[in-house]
């Protein structure tokens, strides 16, 4: 077997090499005198969710730049305004990597606070990590029930309320004259964490509004072929549906719907239908399809329009989510100022007790259990633009019924 005996020496060498690399990693000196607030975030900058991560990162950076333009956040403990330093680490759209990235933010970058990662499969493990290292984690885009179940002490979660969010389609449907309403509804929720959690809640909400699903089945993630399912829908005479799936899957689904000739008067997409890319991929076929959204630049709140416009200037497209991330930063900054300290526990306390006024999401108030909710919006593709149809506050458009494919 001729074992090589030079291994140990090589190993020693490589240990030296590793040590050298460690030194190469910049290590923050724990400052006796604070001159900045370090806020870290792990985000999917690469991998499947890198689009979302990029958007979220942009919103965080805007908020940090905006507050720094005002000189920073006044912290009573130091009796001065401290600028915000934002550090974003990549999680490669992988929970394990996200946890490792938190470890680095905490130990190398010595962050004072953590801002939210993206989507439940990444937010939950990072919330656990924050719990381990006792750093305050200001989270969002994580369905509330799983988060509540864990009884986290070091994080909060700002997200839509399941009951409200799942009621949206029914509230919208209720605005349609009874004769035009779809008769048979289907619930198609993606076979993922979110889909599994939301599925039953949709049913519950439907019941409350007097709607029943005549068909429901999980939708396989990333499948290139949904025709089997669409055939089932057709054979059951379905004419309205809620589709919870990623954007690629939604594109495939809608295309095959048209191919197979399944006519839906009302298709309310969740998660996969709001992107500009969805429209680009489907063109006119996307018309009349509804989409969810965390936020709208048509909201009548301070700076909402401005932030939306800034995003448009930068990326030449509209977003229905950046406002949420921007508002998340706004509430964190306000809470830090209110707490007057960089102590995580106290800032969390401040988050729970402060009434946040005038964010781009409107006013926000956290519950004692660490959650806060915002209303989920609904949009409909009309002439290539997302028109807000819900909530029915100022600026909302009426919903349109989709004609059959051959009548368009």
């Amino acid at each position: 077997m001729m074992m090589t005996l030079r291994g140990p020496r090589l190993m020693g060498l490589s240990l030296v090499f590793v040590a050298a690399m460690m030194l190469g990693l910049p290590t923050a000196v724990p400052a006796a005198d604070k001159n900045e607030i370090v806020i870290g975030a792990t985000l999917p900058l690469t991998g499947m969710l890198s689009m979302m991560g990029a958007e979220q990162k942009w919103a965080y950076e805007q908020a940090a730049a905006d507050i720094n333009a005002e000189g920073g956040i006044y912290v009573k403990e130091y009796d001065k305004k401290l600028p915000v330093k934002l550090i974003v680490a990549d999680n490669e759209t992988d929970a394990g990597k996200a946890v490792a990235a938190i470890e680095r933010l905490v130990k190398v970058d010595k962050v004072d606070f953590l801002l939210s990662d993206s989507t439940l499969p990444l937010v939950m493990p990072t919330a656990v990590a924050a719990e381990k290292w006792k750093v305050y984690y200001h989270a969002t885009i994580c369905l509330l029930p799983p988060w509540q179940e864990q009884k986290f002490k070091w994080s909060t979660d700002y997200f839509f309320d399941g009951a409200q969010a799942t009621a949206v389609p029914f509230e919208v449907l209720d605005t349609i004259p009874e004769a035009d309403r779809p008769k048979k509804l289907a619930l198609l929720a993606e076979d993922s964490t979110d889909g599994r959690i939301l599925g039953p809640i949709f049913k519950e909400a439907g019941k409350q509004y007097g709607y029943e699903f005549d068909y429901e089945e999980p939708v396989a993630v990333g499948s290139k072929d949904y025709s089997s399912q669409i055939l089932k829908l057709k054979s059951k005479g379905i004419d309205g549906a809620i589709l919870f799936a990623g954007s690629g899957d939604c594109v495939t689904f809608v295309r095959q719907m048209k191919e197979v000739g399944l006519n839906l008067k009302y298709l309310h997409g969740y998660k996969g239908t709001w992107g500009t890319e969805f429209w680009n991929a489907l063109g006119q076929d996307a018309e009349y399809i509804l989409a969810d959204g965390f936020w709208s630049e048509t909201y009548p709140y301070p700076r909402a329009e401005e932030i939306g416009e800034r995003y448009y200037q930068n990326f030449n497209k509209r977003s229905v989510s950046i406002g949420l991330f921007y508002a998340l930063c706004q509430t964190l900054f306000q809470a830090i100022e209110a707490a007057g300290t960089l102590d995580g526990a106290k800032v969390r306390e401040a988050v729970l007790t402060t009434e946040f006024k005038g964010t781009v999401m409107g006013d926000i108030k956290y519950n004692p259990d660490g959650t806060a909710v915002f209303p989920l919006a609904a949009f409909q593709w009309q002439e290539g633009l997302l028109r807000r149809v819900y909530p029915f506050v100022e600026g909302a458009s009426p919903v349109l019924i989709a004609p059959p494919w051959d009548k368009r």
């Binding site: 090589l10 590793v18 690399m21 490669e92 493990p125």
Partner: protein, 323 residues
């Protein structure tokens, strides 16, 4: 072999190993584990050492290219998650981890027997690759037992310090290396290497080829299962996507290849080196480091196909006459 008059050499090696282990044991005492990132990095490096060693045993010493490490890793993690969430095992429970390892080993045996008795190398690699995919899909469909795509959340309030993780990972790395060393140095090693070198000749001297292939495969699975179990305890959230990720196979393979396949120190060197290299890449190239990793894989294979450890040996004993 110690009977071969290499006593002084093996003593020196032993001494060096003891010194290194002693130094590593002292790390959490010297550096504050709660604030030092190095402790964490070493923790993840140790897990990779163990995983790389597990693959090395199967593929390096036995010559069966397995791409199923992540299947066993994920299975180990799920055993912990399911057991702990139902109160059957506890936090950082050694018995639970043993159970996880055994579950992985049993799966290894069940799958190994038909795959290893029927398949040539390429097919075996594909078959094991398929195994990981199947487990991932089955856990997604696993409803209440595996909590589907959501995965299982574990009581994170149990966490107090990273120190026990550090030592457990160190132990796993040592265990994997030790098991490999023991298996290779013992009669088993003779059978494994004989099988790799020439199956017909191995069978002709009385070696039950299938038995040893399956044995190595099962031991590799056991070690990977243990690693998965520890990772489950560390992340507190076991879900299909991350725990059945192919990277739990590919990175260890890459580490082995970089360090030297079929050598004892190769996987150790490779794992430590690459953990550090990826870390640095991630820090300086946050948005494009996977491109760098891909490039690194290609470059390593193209220019160091025999790894660092082999490279040195090759230079020393090269026979000038060889055509």
């Amino acid at each position: 072999m110690k009977t071969m008059g290499q006593n002084s050499k093996s003593k020196r090696r032993l001494a060096l190993t003891v010194v290194v282990v002693a130094l590593l044991t002292a790390v959490p005492g010297v550096l504050d584990p709660e604030t030092s990132y190095v402790v964490f990095l070493l923790f993840s490096a140790f897990i990779y050492v163990a995983l790389a060693q597990a693959w090395n045993l199967v593929s390096g010493y036995t010559g069966q290219v397995s791409l199923g490490n992540h299947a066993f890793f994920g299975l180990g993690a799920y055993v912990i998650a399911i057991g702990w969430s139902r109160g059957l095992i506890g936090y950082l429970d050694p018995l639970g981890m043993l159970l996880a390892g055994c579950a992985a080993a049993i799966l290894g045996i069940l799958v190994g027997i038909p795959l290893l008795s029927k398949l040539r190398g390429d097919y075996f690699a594909l078959g094991t690759l398929g195994l990981g995919e199947i487990l991932r899909l089955v856990t997604i469909q696993g409803r209440a037992l595996t909590a589907g795509p959501t995965g299982i959340f574990l009581p994170s309030s149990s966490f107090t310090t990273i120190v026990p993780y550090y030592f457990m990972a160190l132990f796993l790395a040592l265990l994997a290396t030790g098991v490999t060393y023991y298996m290779v140095k013992s009669n088993t090693g003779l059978a494994l290497v004989a099988t790799r070198d020439d199956e017909a000749a191995a069978a002709a001297i009385g070696i039950n080829i299938l038995k040893f292939k399956v044995l190595a495969f099962a031991v590799g699975a056991f070690l990977a299962g243990l690693c998965g179990a520890l990772q489950a305890y560390y992340v507190f959230h076991v879900e299909p996507q991350g725990f059945f990720s192919l990277s739990w196979t590919i990175y260890p393979v890459l580490m082995c290849v970089l360090g030297g396949v079929g050598t004892l120190t190769g996987p150790v060197v490779g794992a430590v080196f690459l953990t550090a290299a990826f870390e640095v890449a991630k820090y300086y190239l946050p948005e494009i480091h996977p491109i760098f990793s891909g490039l690194l894989i290609i470059l390593v294979i193209m220019f160091l196909p025999n790894g660092l450890v082999r490279l040195r040996r090759g230079r020393i004993v090269r026979n000038p006459k060889a055509a």
